[in-house]
């Protein structure tokens, strides 16, 4: 069952904005309110708009089950590997060994307001991105499974 043309056009227009805002929330998770889970949920809302507005056959070109499954597993593996990477340095599991080192994501910060430096926080942005990818894949694949499993009546 397709919805009307107004709904489909609105969903098409709003989908990239939802993705962009969700990506912003994920990337700035260690500076502004939000984080991996919230940003992933916002991105999955964009996918939900697209899924609700169209039928399953229309959508298979843009959202595929295989890609979303890979997204979900990759996010969880990224989270686990980022947590395990501390073990190589002789630190405990999930130890934040990249922060305040002046390196790649560990710009040294003083106590006080942050003027928008993204390269801070050490392991936290990596974990945010992992959880964001996982939540995006997981929540949108739930909707995709539901819409592919329900038998719709022909109007």
């Amino acid at each position: 069952m397709k919805m009307t043309k107004i709904v489909r056009t609105t969903a098409d227009v709003f989908y990239p904005f939802c993705l962009a805002f969700g990506l912003y929330v994920v990337m700035h998770g260690h500076l502004t309110p939000g984080g991996g889970f919230q940003g992933g949920a916002v991105m999955a809302t964009g996918a939900a708009l697209l899924i609700v507005a169209r039928s399953y056959e229309d959508i298979t070109g843009r959202l595929r089950k295989g890609v979303l499954k890979v997204c979900e597993a990759t996010g969880l593996m990224l989270f686990l590997l980022a947590g395990l990477s501390g073990l190589l340095k002789g630190l405990p599991f999930m130890a934040n060994w990249l922060t305040q080192t002046g390196g790649w994501v560990g710009k040294v910060m003083e106590f006080g307001p942050n003027g928008g430096e993204l390269a801070t926080g050490g392991l936290i942005p990596l974990l945010n991105v992992g959880v964001g990818i996982e939540v995006l894949g997981g929540l949108s694949i739930i909707l995709l499974y539901m819409i592919s499993g329900t038998k719709e009546k022909k109007p």
Binding site: H30, G35, F79, T99, S148
Partner: protein, 94 residues
Amino acid sequence: MKTAVLYAILLILFGGLLYIVTDLPFGQPCKADMDEYFIRNSQTQTGANNVVTSVVFDFRGFDTLGEATVLFTAVLGVGMMFRKLHEGEEYEND
């Protein structure tokens, strides 16, 4: 009649519980040592400006791993429940 008595008992029970709650002081006893620690040290220890994220992903990172695993398991359950495929689609691993 029976339901009226049941509702009366529920009303008395909830009223009594609410009356007891009104006597308690709000937010007491206050244990503030952990909050003080997070507010003072989380920014210098983790480098992240958002204290909530630094608690969720760093100080309590193991809980977040559990949450991610719960979401993964929930998605697996939904996938098993809606295993029946759309018409004309084939199973991937058959």
